[in-house]
C-alpha cells in the first residue's frame, strides 16, 4: 500500500464519479425536454468545475496515486472500492470532464427525440468513463469497463444513422469479445496475487515469462480492439459513421484512450518482460496502422469516415510512442492521447454542425461553404491543421515527441532510424487527407452545389468550439504544464520497467535485425 497517498477531507473522486449518476437518476423525474438539457448541462459543468480541484491539489513531485479513497465492497472475494489518480490518468480524467458539457451543448438541437434518455446515457457514460480512469481495483475496473458499453450501445442504436443497428451490434460484439480474455487474465492475476484485486499490488511481480506472455496477449486483444489498432479497427468506422455527434465525440475523444491507457496501466507494469519480447510486433502493427489509416482516410468521401480512419492513424502514433519505451515516447503518447481527444473531438463536432445544415455527411454536398460560413471554416481550418500536426498546434508537440522517442529507440538499437522514418509517410498522408478535406469544404471546385442558403455558426456552436481551439493553441505553444503533470509518474514507470527487464532489451533488439 505504499504506492498510495490517502485522501483526507473532501472525497473529490467519488463525487466526480457519482455526481453524473445522480444527475441521470434525477432526469427520471424531469418531464420537460428543455429542462433535461439544462439539467445535463448543469451537472456536467459542475463536474468539470470540480475536476479542476484535482489540478490544484495534485502533487507533481510524486509518482504515487493521489486523492485515494478506499472502502471495503465485497468482503468475501476481497473486492474493494479503491480509487486514485496518478500522472498517467489525471489528464485523461480532465479531458473527460471538460469534454462532457460540450457534448451536451453539441446535442442541444441535434437530438430531438427521447432527449431525457439521451442525456441520461451521456451522464451514465461519464460516470463509467471517469471510473475506469481512477479504478485501482481490477473488479471495479472491469465492471466500469463493461458498463461503458451499454450507454454507448444505446447512443448509437437509438439516435444513430440509417445503419445504426448493424453498427451498434458490431461495436458491442467486438469490444465484448476483447474483454472476455481480459476477464480470464483478471482471474489468473487474482489467483496468483493471494486473492487480491488491488492493481498496484500486481505490478512488478516477476511472473513467469510464459504466463506473462499469455497475460500480455489477453490484455493486448482487449486494449488493441479498443484503441483500435490495425487490424482490429473495423468496428470503428461503422460506429463513428452511425453515431450521433456527441456519441462520435465521446468515442473518439475518450473511449479510444481507454485502450492506450490500459497498455500503460496494465501491460507495461504487470508484464514487463512480455512487453519487451512482443514490443517489435506491436511497433510494426502501429506503423501499419499509421500508414493504413492514412491511405484509407485519403480515399473517403464521407467526412465522418475520413476522420474515423484518421483516428486509426493517429492512435497508431500513440501506441508507437508507448512501445518505444522511453520517456519522450511515452510522454508524447500521453500528450497525443489528449491532443487526439481535443482535435478529433472538435473535428467530429464540426462535421456534425455541417450535418445539421445539409443532412449529409458526404464531402460532395459540403463543398464550397467557405464563402458563406467564415467563422465555421476558421475553426475547421485550425482543427484540420492541428490534426495533421501543423507546428504551433497541439498535435505537433505530441507527434514531435513520439517521433523523437522513435528516433531515440532506433539509435539505441541500430545505426539507422528505420522505425522513425517508417512513420513519416503517415505524417505526409495526414497532411494530404486533411488538406484535401479542408480544400473541398472551403473552396470545392468549379461546380459547387448552391450553398448560399447556409447559415454560419450560432453563438451556442461557437461556445462549443472555442474551448477546443483554446487548448489546441495552449498545448501547441506551451505544453510544459501538461508534461509536468505526467513527468514524475512516467519516469517512475520507466525506472521500474528498466529494473525488471534490463536483460531482455537486447533480445528484443535482435528481432529487428
Amino acid at each position: 500500500m505504499d504506492q498510495l497517498l490517502m485522501n483526507s477531507g473532501f472525497p473529490i473522486l467519488s463525487v466526480l464519479i457519482f455526481l453524473p449518476l445522480a444527475g441521470a437518476l434525477l432526469l427520471i423525474f424531469v418531464k420537460s425536454e428543455q429542462l433535461c438539457r439544462y439539467l445535463a448541462l448543469v451537472v456536467t459543468s459542475l463536474v468539470a468545475l470540480l475536476s479542476l480541484r484535482l489540478i490544484a491539489g495534485f502533487d507533481i513531485t510524486t509518482a504515487k496515486f493521489q486523492f485515494v479513497e478506499q472502502h471495503t465492497w465485497i468482503k468475501a472475494f476481497n473486492i474493494n472500492y479503491i480509487i486514485g489518480v496518478d500522472g498517467i490518468s489525471i489528464l485523461l480524467i480532465l479531458l473527460t470532464t471538460l469534454i462532457m458539457p460540450l457534448c451536451v451543448l453539441a446535442s442541444w438541437s441535434y437530438i430531438k427525440t427521447r432527449v431525457q434518455t439521451f442525456m441520461a446515457c451521456l451522464l451514465i457514460m461519464e460516470t463509467a468513463m471517469i471510473g475506469v480512469f481512477v479504478a485501482l481495483d481490477l473488479v471495479l475496473f472491469y465492471i466500469l469497463w463493461e458498463a461503458m458499453l451499454i450507454p454507448m450501445y444505446l447512443l448509437i442504436g437509438i439516435w444513430g444513422g440509417p445503419r445504426k443497428i448493424y453498427a451498434s451490434i458490431k461495436f458491442f460484439l467486438y469490444t465484448l469479445a476483447g474483454s472476455i480474455l481480459l476477464l480470464v487474465g483478471i482471474i489468473w492475476l487474482y489467483a496468483t496475487n493471494n486473492y487480491s484485486f488491488f492493481i498496484p499490488g500486481m505490478m512488478w511481480q516477476n511472473y513467469p515469462i510464459t504466463s506473462q506472455i499469455y497475460l500480455f496477449l489477453a490484455f493486448f486483444l482487449a486494449f488493441a480492439i479498443k484503441v483500435p489498432m490495425f487490424p482490429f479497427h473495423t468496428w470503428l468506422p461503422a460506429a463513428h459513421v452511425e453515431a450521433p455527434t456527441a456519441g462520435s465525440v465521446i468515442l473518439a475523444s475518450i473511449l479510444l484512450k481507454m485502450g492506450t491507457y490500459g497498455f500503460l496501466r496494465f501491460a507495461l507494469p504487470i508484464t514487463p518482460e512480455a512487453t519487451v519480447i512482443l514490443m517489435p510486433y506491436v511497433l510494426w502493427l502501429s506503423i501499419a496502422g499509421i500508414i493504413y489509416g492514412g491511405f484509407t482516410a485519403l480515399a473517403q468521401s464521407d467526412m465522418k469516415k475520413l476522420i474515423a480512419y484518421s483516428s486509426v492513424g493517429h492512435m497508431g502514433f500513440v501506441t508507437l510512442g508507448i512501445f518505444v519505451l522511453n520517456i519522450r515516447g511515452i510522454e508524447g503518447a500521453i500528450l497525443q492521447m489528449v491532443n487526439h481527444g481535443i482535435t478529433t473531438g472538435a473535428l467530429f463536432l464540426c462535421v456534425g454542425m455541417i450535418y445539421e445544415r445539409t443532412h449529409s455527411r458526404e464531402l460532395r454536398s459540403a463543398t464550397g461553404v467557405g464563402k458563406y460560413m467564415p467563422i465555421y471554416i476558421t475553426f475547421l481550418a485550425f482543427f484540420s491543421l492541428s490534426s495533421f500536426g501543423f507546428p504551433g498546434t497541439n498535435s505537433f508537440v505530441g507527434e514531435f515527441m513520439i517521433i523523437a522517442g522513435a528516433f531515440q529507440f532506433d539509435t539505441v538499437l541500430h545505426k539507422f532510424p528505420y522505425l522513425a522514418l517508417a512513420s513519416i509517410p503517415g505524417a505526409v498522408l495526414a497532411a494530404a487527407y486533411m488538406l484535401r478535406m479542408l480544400q473541398k469544404i472551403i473552396w470545392g471546385g468549379t461546380n459547387n452545389p448552391d450553398q448560399s442558403w447556409i447559415t454560419d455558426l450560432n453563438s451556442r456552436e461557437i461556445v462549443v468550439l472555442a474551448p477546443f481551439l483554446f487548448f489546441v493553441l495552449w498545448i501547441g505553444l506551451g505544453p510544459q504544464p501538461f508534461i509536468d503533470l505526467m513527468h514524475t509518474s512516467v519516469t517512475q514507470l520507466l525506472q521500474q520497467f528498466d529494473a525488471h527487464q534490463a536483460h531482455s532489451i537486447a533480445a528484443a533488439g535482435s528481432l529487428f535485425q
Partner: protein, 487 residues
Amino acid sequence: MDYKLLLALLIPLIGTLGVMIKGDKENIREGISCVSSILLLLVVGSMVPAVWHGKTLIFHMFTILPGVSVTLRADSMSMIFALVASSLWTIAVFYSMGYMRTLKEHAQTRFNACFALAIFGAIGVAFSDNLFTMYLFYEIVSVCTYPLVAHHQDDEGYNGGRKYLVYLTATAKAFLLPAMILIYVLTGTLDFAPQITTGIFPQGVNSTLVIMLYIFCIFGFAKNGIMPFHHWLPGAMVAPTPVSALLHAVAVVKVGVFCTTRVMLYVFGTDTMHALNLGIPTAYFVGFTVIAASIIALSKDNLKARLAYSTVSQLSYIIMGVALLTEPGIQGGLIHIVNHGFSKITLFFCAGAIYVATHKKNISEMEGLGKTMPFTFGAFAIASLSMIGAPPVAGFITKWNLLVGSVQAHQMGILLILITSTMLNAAYFAPITYKAFFGKRPVGEPFVGIKEAPLAMLIPILIACLISIIIGIFPGFMMHFVKVVTG
C-alpha cells in the same frame, strides 16, 4: 528581449485582421494595407543601426520543449531578407492596388488579407532563431499562399493550387519534419549556431546520419526550387501577377533559399560541410538546375512561364554560391537574395503591366510594344540586364562574387556553369527587349487603345527598377550585412 521584433511580426498580422474587418470598404481596406506595409518597413529599418554594429536582437516568445522554442532574432543574415521582404511589400501593395482595380478582380479582400499573411510568414522566417520557428513560419507561408495561387477559382487555378500545396507540404513533412526531429535527438536543441563556422552538431556524431540530414534539409525546403521539386513554381504562375511578382519571384522562393542557406550555414556550419565534403557536390547538383531551368526558359513563349523558369535558375545561384563555402562565394550567394529580389519583381511587374494594358501574355505577341510602352519595356530591359549580370545593375555584383568564389574554390566546372548560364540568360531575355523596341506590330493589329499601364503600377515598376540600379552602383550597404555573416 527586443520588442521591435515582436512589432515587426505583429504589424502584418494586425494588417490582415484590419483588412478582413474593413473588407467591404475598398479604400479603407487598401489604406490599411499601405499603412501596415510602410510601418513594417520603418520598424525593420529601425533595427538596422543595432544590427549594423554587430548586435543580435532576440525576442523569446514560447518554449515548447527544452531546446525547442518560438524565438525571434535579428542578426545580419536576417536583416538581408527582412529588408528585402518589407521594402518589396511596400512597393507591391501599391502595384497590386493598381492591378487588381484595373482588372476588377473578384475577392479582393481575401487577396489582400492573404497577401499580408504571407508577408507575416516571410518576416517570421527572416527573424527565426531556430529550426522550429523557421519551420512554423515556413508552413504558414505554404498554407496562406494557397488562396492566392487558386485566386481565379477556375480549373487551372485549382490544379495549380493543388500542385503547389502538394509539393510544398509533402516535402516539408517528408523531409523536414524527420530531419528536424533527428537533429533534436542528436543535439538536444534546434537553436541556430551564433556564427557560420561551427554548426550545432557535437563531436563524434554519426556522419552518415549528418549527411542524410543535410540531404533532407536541402529537399525539405522545396520552396527553393531545386530540381526535381520545382514543378510547383511554374504551376503557381496561374496566380494574378502581383502574387507571382511578390510571392513566387520574391517572398515565397526567397523563404525557401533563405531557409536552405540558413540551415546550411547555421545548423551544419562550414566546418562540418568541409569535413564531410558536402559543399562542392551541392554546388554541382544545383548547377544542373541552373542550366536546365535556363534551357527550359528558352522554350517558353508565355512571358510569366519564362520568368518562372528564370526564377528557378536564379535561385540555384544563391545555393550554389553558399555551397562553394568560400568567402566571396557565400557573399555572392547571399547578396543575390537582394539583387534577384528587386530585379525579378521589376520583371514581373512589367509582365503584369503589359497584361493590364494589352491583355497579352505571350512574348511573340509583344513585338513593337516598346514604342507605346517605353517606360515599362525600358524597366524590363534594365532588370533583364541585371538577371544577365551586366554592370552597373545589381546582378553584376552577384556574378562577380560567384565567379571569384568558384575560382577560389578551384572549381573550373562551376565557372563553366556560370558562364554558360549567363549566355543562356542573355539568350532568353535579350530577344524580348529587342523585339519590343525594334520589332514590327503584326499587320492588322494597330496600337489603338494601347498605352502605358496606370500610374499606380508604373511608379512601383520604376522604383523597383531604380533600386536595382542603385544597389548595383552602391552595393556597400547590403554588402555590409553579407560581410558580417561571413565574418
